[in-house]
C-alpha cells in the first residue's frame, strides 16, 4: 500500500506570512492538528497545534508585566523548517514507522518540493480498519493458534473452504513462539465454525482468553 493512495489530498496549508492567530483559527475550525507551510506551491515548513500553543504560552509570559500589548506573530516565526516528508511512492509502512519512532502526528507528502498531500495517524488507522475489515456488518472475528508451520495455515484455510466459510480478512502474527491467525469470517454461526475447527485439531482459544 502506497502513501499516495491513503494520504489526504485536500491539504489545508498556510503561508509563512499568515499570523499565528489565523493558524490557530484554521486548526480549530477544521479540527486538525497540522498545517504545512507553503510558499509559491513549495513546502517550506510545518506548524502543529503544539507549536501554536507554545507560542501563546511564551507570549503570555512576556506579558506578565501587566502590559496589554499583543504582538502579531507570524507563522514564519514558529514553523518547523526541517520537515521530514514522504513521497507518494513511499509505502504506508514507511510512514507508519516514522510516525511510530519519531512520535509525529503527520507527514507532508511532496513531489520534488511541491506539496501534494499529507498523511496523518488518522489515515494510517483508517488503512488498518479497512485492511482488517473491522467496520461494516456481516463479519465476526475468530482467533486460531497455529504452530510455526505453514502447512497448518494451509489446512486451516482448506478446512474453512470445506465449511464454505467466507474469509473476510486474515492476519497472522507471532504469538508466544507460535502463530496466531486473526480471521474475520462472514457467518452468523460462529459456534459451528469454532467447534468444527476444534474437532479438526486446531487450537481456538476460549473467549475469556481472547487476545482482543
Amino acid at each position: 500500500m502506497y502513501v499516495g493512495r491513503r494520504m489526504t489530498r485536500k491539504v489545508i496549508a498556510m503561508s509563512p506570512n499568515d499570523t499565528v492567530r489565523d493558524a490557530n483559527r484554521v486548526l480549530q475550525e477544521n479540527r486538525i492538528h497540522h498545517l504545512p507551510v507553503v510558499e509559491g506551491g513549495e513546502l517550506v515548513g510545518i506548524v502543529s497545534d503544539t507549536d501554536v500553543r507554545k507560542w501563546v504560552l511564551k507570549e503570555e509570559k512576556i506579558n506578565e508585566g501587566g502590559t496589554i500589548y499583543r504582538r502579531t506573530g507570524l507563522v514564519d516565526e514558529i514553523m518547523t523548517r526541517d520537515v521530514i516528508t514522504m513521497s507518494p511512492e513511499d509505502t504506508i509502512e514507511d510512514a507508519l514507522l516514522i510516525l511510530h519512532k519519531k512520535r509525529f502526528g503527520a507527514l507532508p507528502v511532496v513531489e520534488g518540493r511541491t506539496l501534494v498531500g499529507i498523511i496523518t495517524k488518522a489515515d494510517i488507522l483508517a488503512a488498518f480498519v479497512d485492511t482488517l475489515r473491522i467496520e461494516g456488518a456481516g463479519g465476526v472475528r475468530i482467533e486460531v493458534i497455529l504452530p510455526r508451520d505453514i502447512s497448518r495455515l494451509l489446512r486451516l484455510i482448506r478446512k474453512l473452504e470445506e465449511m464454505r466459510i467466507e474469509i473476510r480478512s486474515l492476519v497472522l502474527s507471532p504469538f508466544q513462539g507460535e502463530f496466531v491467525a486473526f480471521l474475520r469470517i462472514g457467518t452468523i454461526d460462529v459456534a459451528k465454525v469454532k467447534s468444527g475447527l476444534r474437532d479438526s485439531g486446531f487450537t481456538v482459544p476460549a473467549l475469556k482468553d481472547f487476545l482482543g
Binding site: G138, G186, T187, D189
Partner: protein, 624 residues
Amino acid sequence: MSLRRENLPLEGLGLPHPLSKREIEKGFETLIGENRLFGAELNPDIIKKEGEKRKFLVSRLPSRKKLLSRWERIFRDLISPACLFERASTKIQDFEHRENMLLVGKDRIIYDTQIARGSDVVGEMTLFFLAERDRNLGLLAYLRGRRNRIVYIDHIRLSQQSSGYASSLFRYYETLFHDLGFHQFRLSASLSVGKYYWAKEGFDCLDREEFRRMKESLRDYVKERGLPVEEIDINRLTHAYDIALFRKDLKVSAYCNAEGYYSLKKDEEYREEKLFPLGKAYLLSAKPWDGYKIIYTNTPRRTGLLYSPGYLSHRPRAGHPENHKRLGKLIEAIRKDDLQGSLVLLEPFLPDMRSLEKVHSAGYLDEFRNNVRTGKKTFATVDCSISEGSFDVALLAAGGVMAGVDAVMNGRVDNIFCAVRPPGHHAGRRSAMGFCFLNNIAVGACYARDVYGVKKIFILDWDVHHGNGTQEIFEEDPLTYFCSIHEHPTFSFPGTGRRMEKGKGEGYGFTLNLPVKPHTADREFLDLFEREVIPEIDRFRPDLIMVSAGFDAHKDDPIADLELTERSFVHMTRRICEMADTYCKGRIVSVLEGGYNGSSLTSSAIAHIKTLQGRSEPCTSEEG
C-alpha cells in the same frame, strides 16, 4: 361473600382459595330450599318448555356426592352454588332474571333464565359451564386434572332494543368468569339482525369459509362500484371486526326498508338512502351469518399469537440452524402447554410490494425474487440458504408483523407475539445476511406509521446479535428509537453495534447500542437493562413498543456466548409491559428473531408469551 377478589387482574393468574365442602353443600341446600336446583339430562327428544331450543331435560337431582364432585370439577370450589346463582342473576340496568334455575347435568352445569324488564319478558338466556379436556394438552396434563373450563352462552334471545343491556351483561360476565378462572367465555348467536353491532363487539363468523365468501363479495362490490379501495386493504381483513371498522373515511349509500333492514341496492322496498362508512354499510346489508366470540378470560391481558403453517415452507439446507423445526417445536409446545386456549390466534396476510418498498429497495426485492425463482441455493451469503418457497415465506413473515400491528392497533388484542420466520433484523435496505432476508419488524413499524399514524415507535432488540439491519433503516429517523442489547461485536456476529453508534443526522441520539461481554448472565444483563433501557423508554414516551425478540442469548443456545435464563426474558417482558401501559395503552408487537436450541427457544418464548399475558408465574422449567 364467598367470591374473593384478592388478586387484582394485573397481578396474574392467582386464584382465590377453594371453599370447604361444607360451604359448598350449604350453598346447594339454599338453592334446593328456594326450588332453584335441579338435575339435567341431555335428551334431544324431550324438550323443556314449549318450542324452545333447549336440548336438556329437567330431571331428578343427582346424589349429594355427585353434586359435590361435579361442582368441584367445573368450579373448583372457588364459589358456592348459591353465590354463583346470585352473581349470575345480578340485575343490570332495569333488566332482571326470572324463573331462573341451576341444573346439574352429567358433564355440565346449566344456568337458565328469562330476562324481564319491569313486567315484560324481553328475552331468555342459557349458560353452559363445562370443564372440557383439551385434546391438545396430552394425557399427562389430563391426568393431572388440567382441563379447559369454558362458559358458553348457548342460547340468547333478546328484543332488538336490548343490545345495550346485552353488552353490559357480557362485560359483567366476562369479569366474573375471569375471576373464577374460566379459560374461555364463548357466545354463540345467529346474527340476522344487528350484524354490524355484533361484529363491532368482536363476533366473528363461525365458519371460516363464510368469512372468505364475505370478503369476496365485499371485493366484488368495491369493483362494481369502482371505489378507491386497494386490493391489499381487503386482503388484510381477517375478522368480521376488521370489516366493521373498514374504511371509516369512505362513505357509501345503503338503503333502508320499512322494518329497518338494509340493502346496498336501491329498489321498491329498500328506498330510504343513508350514508355509512363502507364497512358498516356492507355489514348492515350482509346476509345473516352465524357468529361466535371467544372471550379469553383467564389472563389479565389479551395476547395474540400470530402464526401460519406457511412459515415452515422456507427450507434452508440440511443442518442449517434456522430450520423449520425450531418454529414447529415452539408451536407444538404452545399447543400442549395449555397456552393455545388463552391466546387469540391470528394469521398473516401476503403484503403488497409497495409496503415492502418502504423499507427495501425495489432492486433488492427483485434480486431476491430472482435468486429464489432461478433455484439458487443461497442468496447474498452462505448463511442465507434458500429454497423454492423462501421468497413467499419471507413476504408472509413481513405480512405477519403487519397483521400483528393491525390486531394491536385496532384493539383485538392488547399485545401480540408474531411467531414468524425467516427472521429479519439483520436485513438492511439492500442486504441479506445472518439468516435474514426482509426486515420484518421494520416493515411492521413503517406500516404502523403509514396506516395508523403511530408517531413514536420504540424498537427493543434483545436478540443476542446486533440488529444492524433495523439500525441502518432507522438511524436517521428521530421518531423510531432503536435500542439493541447484544453480545459485544468483537466477539459476535455481525461485528457492529458498538456504543458509539448512536444514530445519524436528525436521528442522532435515537439509536442506543448496549453491547455486553461474552458469558454475561442474568443479573448483569438485567442491571444494564434497568439502568439504560428503561430510562430511555421513559424519556422517549413511545406510542408503540415493538420487540425483536430473539431467544439466542439463552445459556443453552449454541450460536452465541451469553448465559441468560428464561428469567431475563420474563423480567424484560414484564418491564416493557409496564412501560407500554404507561405510554402506549399496553400496545406491544413482539416479533420472533433468533433462537436455535429447540428447548431453550420453546421455554423462553413461552415464558415471554405468558408474561405478555400478564401471568405472574410464567416459567415452567426448573431454572426459570
